[in-house]
């Protein structure tokens, strides 16, 4: 046989095939359960497909089968890294539907709780990304800092992660004495620890080499994908629900919305970093301005009556029974309420048919839209860029799934 150099079968044999590999669903770097199917040409990513859906929590179905108040613990588990923000988002949406507003003290405490959760989320995100880029020590510091925040969660509501703190029309409980001092001390301790992380990471050339210039996507593409939060802000768009549609007391507080200039992973890291400092500022201001007064709405149609009266007064006992068994009854209607979650716009769309159970309870999860853009972020990049990009997308399986 005459096998010349132009023989097509030979060129075919010499040509490498693109390789399909699967990252996840239990790859160490995919915190949260997600599978990324990559098609590689050597180290280059030709194409990828991101698959979510490994948790199957049935969040919406569970909410539809319980009373309005029974959905609150389920929201803890949406973004489990920042549970308080989900509590706040759901309760704000429900309050909007009911047409009530929590007392000012509760509003301030919810702000504090939200910002604490945001700090915990950013600690988790930055710590985990450092870990997945093989830097173990910053992860330990981050987790230790997060523990400080969780101590505050515990002081507020008695649980470290599954908080179930916010109620429709109020809060689960008022502050314990000495919370303000504890809060200042713990936040300061967390920020000190974070200063160490800063020293270890921000100027570290290895870290920068991995982060700089990777995962970039222009702002208009991010908006078209519905990406929000630090990812969008790193691309230079100053969109923050706290600023665009102020809720709680954010319009009364002084804070900065950090934006990046280039939109790469490094900018995302820096934006998160700056948001941590801003969260600490917000907490400090909220603690300073915290008014006295009740934390619960004094309206037995929505908020369970005070326990002391339930024990020895007939009217309140009846209210307790009716509220627990039949739940609070909103007017029929629909509302959408967005809050700024740690990863972007966290919206709740509630539909009521006037009964004690939600007809629909929909969560607009920021992670879901953010993860969708991952494919474009890593298109044509190197395999090694997947890890920092995915880390900065910070997908949380709990809120991604239904």
């Amino acid at each position: 046989m005459d096998a010349g150099p132009t023989n097509p079968s030979l060129t075919n044999d010499l040509h490498t095939q693109p390789m399909e590999i699967q990252m996840g669903p239990s790859h160490p770097s995919t915190h949260g359960t997600v599978k990324i199917t990559l098609k590689l040409d050597g180290e280059r990513i030709l194409d990828s497909e991101v698959e979510v859906g490994y948790l199957h929590r049935g969040f919406e179905k569970e909410c539809e089968s319980g009373e309005w108040y029974q959905a609150i613990p389920y929201t803890d588990r949406l973004n489990y890294a920042s549970p308080m923000i989900n509590n706040v988002g759901y309760c704000l949406a429900a309050e909007k539907l009911f047409g009530v507003e929590a007392p000012p003290r509760a509003q301030y405490l919810r702000t504090i709780a939200s910002e604490l959760s945001r700090m915990a989320d950013h600690f988790t995100c930055i710590g985990a990304s450092a870990l997945e880029l093989a830097a173990l020590t910053p992860f330990l510091y981050c987790v230790q800092a997060r523990e400080q925040i969780y101590d505050l969660h515990e002081s507020l509501c008695g649980a470290r992660v599954t908080t179930n703190y916010v109620r429709i029309g109020g809060l689960q409980s008022d502050l314990q004495p000495g919370f303000a001092e504890l809060c200042r001390e713990k936040v300061a301790a967390a920020l000190t620890l974070f200063g160490d992380v800063d020293e270890l990471l921000t100027k570290n050339p290895i870290f920068r080499e991995r982060m700089e210039g990777t995962g970039t996507l222009p702002a208009d593409a991010l908006i078209a994908y519905g990406v929000t939060g630090p990812l969008l802000r790193a691309a230079g768009v100053g969109f923050d629900v706290r600023r665009a549609e102020p809720y709680l007391v954010y319009d009364r507080l002084d804070f900065e919305v950090p934006v990046g200039s280039r939109g790469d992973n490094y900018d995302r890291y820096l934006v998160r970093f700056e948001e941590l400092r801003q969260s600490a500022r917000i907490i400090e201001q909220a603690l300073r301005d915290l008014p006295d007064g009740p934390v619960d709405l004094d309206d037995p149609r929505f908020r369970w009556p005070a326990k002391g009266k339930v024990f020895n007064r007939m009217e309140e006992l009846i209210d307790q029974f009716k509220l627990v068994t039949e739940g609070m009854r909103p007017p029929a209607g629909e509302v959408y309420q967005a809050v700024e979650g740690a990863n972007g716009e966290l919206g709740f769309y509630l539909v009521s048919n006037g009964t004690g159970k939600p007809w629909k309870c929909r969560c607009r999860a920021p992670s879901f839209s953010n993860t969708q853009a991952l494919r474009d972020m890593i298109q044509g990049a190197l395999l090694a860029d997947v890890v920092p990009t995915f880390d900065m997308v910070n997908m949380i399986g709990g809120e991604c799934d239904r």
């Binding site: 507020l156 008695g158 050339p205 920068r208 002084d254 200039s261 009740p294």
Partner: protein
């Protein structure tokens, strides 16, 4: 509006000197060494600063607010305070409580013949405690509920009963919020009703 959009400052581009290995190592080591010595000196002075504890010899110091597993309050006479009203059973989002009420000859005529909590379903949300009109089920500070077989996660009434004095810290904590807002005097109430 007091919020502003501010562009974060990026550190200058990497210079050649930044990528030099030994310098890097020294800078990183300085941070970790600081932690090491701080922990060491604190240890020598008897005030530990490291975050980990030696479980199970050491236990974490919980806040009084800590919500552990729900337990039943056992009164001084050895009986449960629960009257099997079923509010906790209904309020529980995950349906982990099962109560079968029965009648007794006591003054309070009803008691739970069976009171089971499926701890494998319980998510420690605390709604049972909040719903209870008798202060009979409270969140304790117990968290060790691991078992080796699934039947062990079903806690029956006799396992759940805890003497009331052992629950004192928790009861003190939840009683703080009982009179929210302050119980109004009859005159205040009359005034409020007038306003409505």
């Amino acid at each position: 509006m007091a919020s502003r959009v501010v562009t974060v400052e990026r550190p200058p581009r990497l210079r050649a000197v930044d990528t030099m290995g030994p310098l890097l190592i020294v800078r990183g080591l300085l941070v970790t060494a600081r932690h090491f010595f701080r922990n060491l000196f604190a240890f020598m002075r008897g005030r530990r600063t490291i975050a980990t504890i030696l479980y199970p010899e050491e236990k974490m110091a919980w806040s009084p607010a800590m919500r552990g597993m729900p337990v039943l309050v056992q009164m001084e006479n050895g009986k449960e305070r629960c009257v099997a009203c079923g509010l906790c059973e209904w309020a529980c989002p995950v349906d982990c409580i099962t109560i079968y009420p029965a009648e007794t000859a006591d003054e309070i005529e009803r008691y739970p013949e069976i009171f089971d909590i499926d701890m494998s379903r319980c998510m420690f949300c605390g709604f049972c405690e909040e719903a209870c009109p008798e202060e009979a089920i409270v969140m304790s500070q117990r968290v060790a509920i691991a078992t080796t077989e699934w039947r062990g996660s079903l806690w029956h009434k006799r396992d759940l009963l805890v003497p009331v004095h052992e629950l004192d810290p928790r009861l003190r904590y939840i009683r703080r919020g009982y009179d929210r807002p302050d119980v109004p005097t009859p005159a205040q109430t009359a005034e409020r009703l007038e306003k409505r």
